[in-house]
């Protein structure tokens, strides 16, 4: 099997636990992400999602293991990996537009001023920010608008990999819905590879090609990789009617509710730990002609 675009190999992270000992957040975690794929990672608070993300971004050094992108080991942050932080991280002294041009100027140093501004305006328009709004400072924008700016900043740089850490965590459900659709739109236009952390099961099903499920920590594991067998383009109002929707959702709820605890807290024993691929598809022709939605059929394929 050829190597995926992004491959995480036997990644381990330990921190001092504050009581003299060491806390192993995860060890020997291995997984891959294909080019153009949208992958969400779901897991309980504190299991180590942000820790993985910081390593992928190059903002933190793992205790062991490597992350390879296009076959090259990641060391330190890079413009090829754009990050949208949970708290937006806009520079408050710059207007929305300037926040976006800040990124573009760093990425395309030879571009003229006009070109930079034009590019920024285009990406801001893609997330629905046009007119006077883009000249306002972040403090004069609503939470949803700020998050849009920060998404525009990340996409405008056209990174090879986009990392999103709970980008909608602080937003109300309505705003969240609109921005999710904008994110999908901009993603389908740009064919970018996205790795996103979320707490929200429905959000993950709407957005992702694949969901990685993480068990509780310490010694957290990325236990399963669930394929989302719902065709695109997806709309929030329509996917709930798809036969696979509740089957996948139930599986995820079961995992987070029960199995994330049951599978937690086991040392790897030196083994590389890859997620088990799971495919739930009630529409597949070789399945039962009358599928019962309460009992999803699991196809666990060992990779």
């Amino acid at each position: 099997m050829s190597k995926p675009f992004l491959s995480v190999e036997r990644l381990s992270q330990t921190f001092p636990d504050g009581a003299g000992g060491m806390l192993t957040v995860f060890e020997n975690a291995s997984f891959g992400i294909e080019k153009g794929e949208f992958v969400c990672i779901l897991g309980h608070s504190g299991c180590g999602k942000s820790t993985i993300m910081n390593v992928l971004a190059g903002l933190a050094e793992p205790s062991a293991g490597v992350v390879k992108m296009d076959g090259v080991a990641v060391s330190g942050p890079s413009l090829d990996r754009g990050v949208v932080f949970q708290n937006y991280s806009l520079l408050p002294w710059l207007s929305a537009l300037k926040n976006v041009t800040f990124g573009i100027k760093a990425r395309y140093r030879s571009w003229s001023r006009e070109k930079v501004v034009e590019h920024a305006t285009q990406y801001l328009a893609m997330v629905g920010l046009e007119g006077d709004v883009i000249h306002r400072k972040p403090s004069q924008l609503s939470g949803g608008m700020r998050q849009r700016v920060s998404i525009a900043r990340a996409f405008a740089n056209q990174p090879k990999l986009l990392l999103l850490d709970e980008p909608f965590g602080a937003l109300d459900a309505l705003t969240r819905g609109t921005i999710q659709e904008e994110l999908l739109k901009i993603w389908s236009q740009t064919e970018q590879t996205v790795f996103m952390i979320t707490h929200d099961i429905d959000e993950a099903i709407l957005l992702a090609d694949r969901i990685l499920l993480m068990t509780n920590g310490p010694f957290a594991r990325i236990a399963e990789s669930v394929e989302i067998t719902i065709p695109r383009p997806r709309r929030r109002t329509e996917i709930v009617e798809h036969p696979n929707y509740y089957a996948i959702r139930n599986h995820l709820v079961q995992f987070l509710g029960k199995r994330s605890k049951e599978l937690a807290g086991r040392a790897s024993g030196g083994e590389s730990q890859s997620p088990e691929p799971v495919r739930i598809d009630l529409t597949a022709p070789n399945d039962d002609p009358e599928p019962a939605p309460q009992k999803p059929i699991l196809h666990a394929v060992n990779g």
Partner: protein
């Protein structure tokens, strides 16, 4: 009903008139009473015209002085404009030197915990020293009263700027630094485009405190070194027993101090951002 601002302005004018009126009346009485207090006997030896002048005299003096502020009739008779210009020159050069040292050094201390720990004991010992205590040493080493005055300004304005810069730089949110890192900005660009604007309000607060202290200290320093400047002017007029001029120059010191503070307050407002 008048707006709050108008009412406040009206009240200010009333207070001013009442204060000046009370001053005028009490001084005229005192002159008529002509009884010398113990202090006057000690200090003024009961000379004529040694009494506190009434505000009307001060206003006339101000008019005279301000209508020709830049005359120069030799070392002991220069216009108020020239004296203030000398003081401002000293304050601004000492302040500029201090800023040139304190802001880069503050950046270093703010960004590096090692530099902070290494320099902290020196700062803690040097900071509480009254700037005037350096004067004899400065005069001895520099051998030049002009440069010594500037040095005293330098030493008193360096600390607030140094500490505020270090504090502001150390307090820059790590998220913003991470934004710079994920955009592969070099350290110089990070310092200029992220850390400097982020810490600018704190740095300017330090500069505003410094310029205020420098303006307080220059008067005392010029009383010591003499020659020129508003501090020397005050002392000289006291020796001439020209209290009208003393009061007038006190007012001028206050006005210039207010202008300096207003300038830095404006700058501070310009770089302040809301989170």
């Amino acid at each position: 009903m008048l707006s709050v601002n108008k009412r406040a302005a009206l009240l200010s004018v009333v207070l001013l008139i009442v204060a000046l009126g009370a001053w005028e009346i009490s001084v005229t009485r005192q002159v008529m009473g002509e009884a010398l207090t113990e202090y006057e006997i000690l200090m003024g030896v009961g000379q004529p015209r040694a009494a506190v002048p009434p505000p009307s005299d001060v206003i006339i003096k101000a008019w005279e002085q301000l209508s020709n502020p830049f005359y120069d009739n030799g070392p002991n008779d220069k216009g108020i404009g020239i004296q203030l210009a000398y003081s401002l020159y000293r304050v601004l050069s000492g302040f500029a030197l201090a800023a040139a040292l304190a802001i880069p050094l503050g950046f270093l201390i703010g960004m590096s915990p090692v530099a902070y720990k290494a320099l902290n004991p020196f700062i803690q010992v040097l900071r509480p020293i009254s700037p005037l205590a350096w004067m004899p040493l400065a005069l001895f080493i520099i051998q030049d009263s002009e440069a010594s005055a500037i040095f005293v300004i330098f030493i008193c304005s360096v600390w607030p700027m140094l500490l505020n810069t270090a504090f502001g730089v150390a307090g820059v949110r790590s998220d913003w630094v991470n934004v710079a890192r994920t955009h592969e900005l070099g350290s110089l660009r990070t310092a200029l485009t992220v850390i400097l604007p982020a810490a600018a309000p704190t740095i300017l607060t330090g500069m505003r405190i410094s310029i205020g202290i420098a303006w307080l200290v220059i008067v005392a320093a010029e009383m010591l070194v003499g020659g020129t400047g508003i501090g020397y002017y005050v002392w000289n007029e006291w020796n001439n027993l020209d209290l009208t001029s003393v009061i007038f120059s006190i007012l001028m010191i206050g006005l210039v101090g207010m202008v300096l503070d207003t300038i830095f307050a404006t700058l501070q407002r310009a770089v302040t951002y809301a989170e």
